[in-house]
């Protein structure tokens, strides 16, 4: 995987001219900023269209996509280079299995990402889901725990299946606003870290429609119901994130395994021991106290006080 062949980005030529121009312009902007490669991590629940996004952006069928079953249970990296610029997109298996976060999948992803730098994270979900539930929260927490909260500075929410007719009485814009708000809320509530240290910039939400039946505009670009050509828009967002000044996430061993709890506080052990020494002393003193205060049967006391009470007795008689 590490030695994966970096192929020429030929798919770009299949895009409509307007898109091509836009993309090249954005790439140029990146190279101007001395960014010669970009690694994008695509994550999300299963079946939301992660792989399709990869294919759509690359412009070719780089990752196998199937409508009914999840494809690989392992991450795939697609790398394309164009004019000295390399684009890496990592497609990952769905994070949910059987109603729970699939720790194993997450583990595999983490191991796959070892020693790579993530520039942009695309968190993928569907636009046409109405509810946000606990599972979303769990996924977001799992991602945060795996890669640190910093990842959300380099992340965008991608909502697929954007070509939909919103439910009655809602305009498309309204629906989109409501949906993204609900999702963002999860980020701000689900990740407890979020409101303590707010993100450098509000997380962008991008709409995507991977379907081949996607509407097209006059320049043959795929457009959303609100008239935005989504591929350039997505790449634009990605580039913005890449250049937003925050740190890219380097996935190293430490990040994967998390802070080793076994190492935490080890240096304090001598201090703890010293405190415990005093605790033992306190208990010991309490025991001595117990012995002193133990009610003794009369016979134990009487015989003992015999010598001492002699004078007393003489006084009495």
């Amino acid at each position: 995987m590490a030695t994966q062949l970096i192929r020429e980005w030929t798919g770009i030529q299949h895009f409509p001219a307007a898109t091509q121009n836009k993309l090249l312009e954005l790439l140029g902007k990146l190279t101007k900023e001395n960014v010669s490669s970009l690694t994008i991590l695509v994550m999300g629940k299963g079946g939301v269209g992660k792989s399709s996004i990869v294919n759509s952006v690359i412009g070719e069928r780089a990752v196998a996509v199937s409508a009914f079953q999840s494809e690989g249970s392992r991450p795939v990296m697609v790398s394309r280079s164009r004019a000295g610029f390399t684009l890496n997109i990592i497609d990952t298996p769905g994070l949910v299995e059987g109603g729970y976060v699939n720790d194993q999948a997450l583990e595999i992803i983490k191991r796959f990402l070892l020693n790579r730098t993530i520039d942009v994270l695309l968190y993928v979900d569907r636009l046409d889901t109405y509810r946000v539930d606990n599972l979303d929260r769990q996924i977001i927490r799992a991602i945060t725990e795996s890669f640190g909260k910093g990842i959300w500075n380099r992340a965008a929410i991608v909502l697929t299946h954007a070509q939909l007719s919103p439910p009655d009485g809602l305009s498309y814009e309204e629906f989109f606003a409501k949906r993204s708000e609900a999702l963002l809320k999860v980020f701000y509530l689900g990740g407890p870290l979020m409101w303590r240290d707010p993100l450098a910039s509000p997380m962008p939400v991008v709409l995507v429609e991977n379907s081949g039946r996607c509407n097209k505009n006059e320049s043959d670009e795929k457009v959303l119901p609100n008239g935005v050509a989504w591929i350039p828009n997505l790449v634009q967002t990605i580039v913005d994130i890449a250049l937003n000044g925050s740190e890219s996430i380097l996935v190293d061993k430490k990040l994967i395994e998390g802070p080793n709890p076994n190492e935490r506080g080890k240096m304090w052990i001598p201090v703890i021991l010293a405190i415990q020494y005093f605790l033992v002393k306190i208990i010991h003193r309490a025991i001595k106290n117990d012995i002193a205060e133990e009610p003794r049967p009369a016979w134990e006391v009487e015989n003992f006080s015999l010598n001492g009470s002699e004078e007393l007795d003489e006084l009495l008689f």
Partner: protein, 811 residues
């Protein structure tokens, strides 16, 4: 026929002005009390009511307590009820003039005799008479052959007839009244209505009465009855002395008894005067020499008021004083204490002379199985250090101290039979020799127990080839060098042909008296070599997770520690442990990681790591310390007090992956008595509120087998072991209210356990992997049925309840 008091009980009429040397001598009764303990089980032929039999050693010493009343009451019988002020001469008359049986009684069957009630005892005391009576009954009796209602003086009785006595009564000559049967006088007479007596016996009876000092004059008269029986009428004049307003109690133990100087009948008055003066002086000296006695002021005052209220000092009063004084002594456990004399009568002061029972000698004897005295293997110092100070020479013998000694010696576990006997010292009047008789247990013992398990073969049928011989081989070498050092070992396997499968062994060497047997510090060194196999509660599923493949944790290693006992319950232990921990899966293969069941039903072996090294085998050396403070005690069977335990495992960085950690636990349990109750057997126990807190934490390397688990009968009831999680730090709080009901108690409880958010700080987060909550509460109610607790506990996480049966106590 009548008797007057013998010469040295100078009657008041004889020399009224000089009789300051009046004395009444109660009997120097011999005591035989015997405390004994059988280890491990009581012998069936022991006298059950005189022997203080202790429980088998496996039970807690506290279980002895409820029994303690019994021997106490036994001891008090023979001593508190020798209900007559009998002079020594009279006593010996009874003993030796009767037959050999009387004397024998004291040495041989003394304890047994004590079993009866007070009056009964007295009748045993004069056993020859009792025998005669029995004979008479079986052979019949002779009619008096005289007209009815005829008073017959004793000397008119026929020496050849056996008279049946149908009635006995006392008649006071002074007040001219008949004394009621409940009067203390009746305690002194052995004649019983319905008994058959000869003239000689009746004469003896009269002699006894006459010499007891209670009466100035006493006569016995028969009255014929129409049915041939006689009514015995005892006519008496009570002895009285001058009124007194002071009372004094002295301990005359170990002092030579004053012997009345022979008084010549033809002494001149001057000589007599001289004689009495010298006696008086002598007595003063005696009083001065005498040690003060233990009698507390309260009793002293009580007696004084008794003395002052009476217009004159009568024999009855003295009897009451003696009874009161002796009662106090016996209630306090001074079983050998006795009022031996009242001196200084006819002065303003009543002097009560008490022999308290000073211990003059302490003898420790070893006996073999047949009861022969042998030289024991046990060093005497080992026994000596168990004896309370109150049992040393120079102290006053107390039965409670004797019982304490018995319990202490019993807890050594070295003796099969222990007896603590106070015995009168013949050479030292008033002295007591405490005799401790010990039967040693065998030093070496070995045991083999076997069991055969039939293992199902193919198709589930047991086959011959699959019968496995299993069992335990154990040996014990106790009391090495007589210093209670012991070496014990046991090996257990379920299959001797393939012992490597599940061989469990333990070898232990115990070395008490580390600081020397004479040093009061009680430290014991222990070293052991052990192995154990336990199911890890860390790898347990939460609710709804049906099957988590189990992980077995095998530990084997060497342990050495020193235990210092502060009290019976409080102790401090510290030492080193060196062990190898191997984690295995169901099929006994080494498992480096826990398994987990995938949602699709498959099993993957990438669960949390089981060991620190990640290989499934850890070796480590760590220091261990444990301090227990326990001042709990039983109040009518309910436990009350406080128990604090602090335990520490300190990793030393020696072993696989250089484990360095500090694992600590603090347990605080309080048993609060909610109501003051009167203590005593048969009294109801008080309601008790139990408050319990347990904190466990670990800093540094924490392998999963050392993680703290939540849930289980000793953690949070209502959950399975480890069902709530496995964490780095835990806190458990529990409370229980125990309400006594009849002779058991019912209880209500509520418990909570939390991982304090530290589950994720265990490598691999087993709590989350096995879908556990990490915290949980439960509440419920239960009833204690003997050793079993039956309880209904509601698991608060799921809200469902279940009934549990558990052995032993939660706290």
């Amino acid at each position: 026929m009548s008797f007057t008091a013998p010469g040295h009980f100078l009657s008041s009429s004889f020399t009224p002005s000089l009789s300051s040397r009046r004395s009444i001598k109660p009997s120097p009764t011999h005591i035989h009390s015997s405390l004994s303990s059988q280890n491990p089980k009581p012998l069936s032929d022991s006298k059950p009511n005189s022997n203080f039999s202790s429980q088998p050693k496996s039970l807690k010493p506290t279980s002895l307590k409820p029994k303690s009343d019994k021997p106490k009451s036994l001891f008090s019988h023979p001593l508190s009820k020798p209900a007559a002020l009998v002079s020594s001469s009279a006593l010996f008359l009874c003993l030796y003039s009767g037959s050999g049986g009387g004397g024998h009684f004291f040495n041989g069957g003394g304890g047994g005799g004590g079993g009866g009630g007070g009056g009964h005892w007295w009748s045993n005391f004069l056993s020859p008479l009792a025998f005669a009576k029995d004979d008479g009954e079986s052979e019949g009796w002779d009619s008096h052959g005289l007209p009815a209602d005829l008073p017959v003086p004793l000397n008119k009785f026929s020496g050849f007839k056996r008279y049946k006595v149908s009635e006995v009564f006392f008649f006071d000559r002074v007040t001219r009244t008949t004394v009621g049967t409940e009067d203390s006088f009746f305690e002194m007479v052995t004649l019983r209505p319905g008994g058959v007596y000869t003239k000689a016996q009746l004469q003896k009876e009269l002699e006894t009465l006459a010499t007891c000092g209670m009466f100035e004059k006493v006569d016995l008269e028969g009255k014929t009855k129409p049915d041939g029986t006689i009514a015995v009428k005892i006519l008496f004049t009570e002895s009285t002395w001058m009124a007194a307003d002071r009372f004094r109690c002295i301990n005359v133990g170990l002092m030579p008894q004053t012997k009345p100087m022979e008084m010549d009948a033809d002494m001149t008055d001057k000589e007599k005067l001289e004689y009495f003066r010298s006696q008086e002086r002598e007595y003063k000296r005696r009083i001065q020499k005498a040690r003060p006695c233990l009698l507390p002021d309260a009793v002293h005052t009580e007696v004084l008021s008794m003395v002052r209220t009476d217009s004159n000092v009568s024999a009855k009063l003295l009897q009451r004083i003696r009874d009161r004084v002796q009662k106090w002594y016996h209630d306090e456990g001074y079983a050998c204490a006795q009022v031996v004399n009242f001196g200084n009568l006819n002065t303003k002061e009543v002097v009560c002379e008490v022999v308290e029972g000073d211990i003059t000698q302490l003898v420790i004897q070893f006996q073999d199985k047949l009861g022969n005295v042998v030289e024991g293997n046990t060093q005497l110092a080992v026994v000596h250090r168990e004896l309370p100070k109150q049992l040393r020479v120079g102290q006053i013998f107390n039965i409670e101290a004797g019982k304490q000694a018995l319990r202490n010696i019993n807890s050594l576990g070295l003796f099969s039979n222990i007896e603590v006997n106070p015995r009168p010292d013949e050479k030292n009047e008033g002295g007591i020799i405490v005799e401790i008789k010990l039967k040693e247990l065998d030093q070496k013992s070995a045991e083999v127990s076997t069991e055969w398990s039939i293992v199902p073969g193919r198709q589930g049928h047991p086959t011959l080839a699959s019968i496995q011989p299993g069992g335990t081989v154990s040996f014990e070498h106790r009391n090495l060098q007589g210093l209670n050092r012991s070496l014990l070992g046991s090996v257990t396997t379920s299959n001797f042909f393939n012992p490597q499968d599940d061989l469990a062994f333990k070898f232990e060497y115990v070395h008490p008296y580390l600081d020397g047997v004479h040093d009061p510090r009680n430290r014991t060194f222990r070293t052991s070599c052990f192995n154990s196999r336990k199911l890890s509660p860390v790898f347990t599923g939460g609710p709804g997770v049906d099957e988590v493949p189990p992980i077995w944790v095998d530990r084997s290693g060497v342990k050495a520690n020193i235990t210092e006992n502060f009290t019976r319950q409080s102790k401090f232990t510290y030492g080193l442990v060196m062990e190898e921990i191997t984690t295995r899966d169901e099929s006994s293969h080494i498992a480096a990681q826990g398994q987990r069941v995938l949602p699709n039903g498959g099993i993957s072996a990438d669960g949390p790591p089981t060991t620190l090294s990640g290989t499934g085998v850890d070796r480590m050396v760590f220091a261990q310390a444990n301090i227990t403070r326990d001042n709990t005690k039983f109040v009518n069977g309910a436990i009350v007090g406080e128990r604090n335990v602090f335990q520490l495992d300190q990793g030393l960085g020696i072993g696989s992956n250089f484990p360095f950690f500090n694992r600590h636990q603090l347990t605080v349990t309080k048993f609060l008595q909610l109501k003051q109750v009167e203590e005593g057997s048969g009294k109801p126990p008080p309601p008790v509120l139990v408050l319990h807190g347990h904190y466990g934490g670990c800093v540094g390397d924490l392998p999963s087998y050392d993680a703290f688990t939540l849930g289980g009968p000793y953690s949070v009831r209502g959950y399975n072991m480890g069902e709530l999680g496995a964490a780095r730090n835990i806190l458990e709080v529990a409370t229980e209210l125990r309400i006594p009901v009849r002779n058991t108690h019912v209880y209500l409880f509520a418990e909570h356990g939390t991982d304090l958010g530290s589950s994720k700080e265990v490598k691999g987060n087993p709590t989350e992997v096995y879908r556990r909550m990490g915290h949980g509460s439960s509440y419920g109610a239960g009833v204690k049925l003997g050793l079993v607790r039956a309880e209904y506990a509601v698991d608060h996480n799921s809200g469902t309840g279940a009934i549990f049966f558990r052995f032993g106590e939660r706290f």
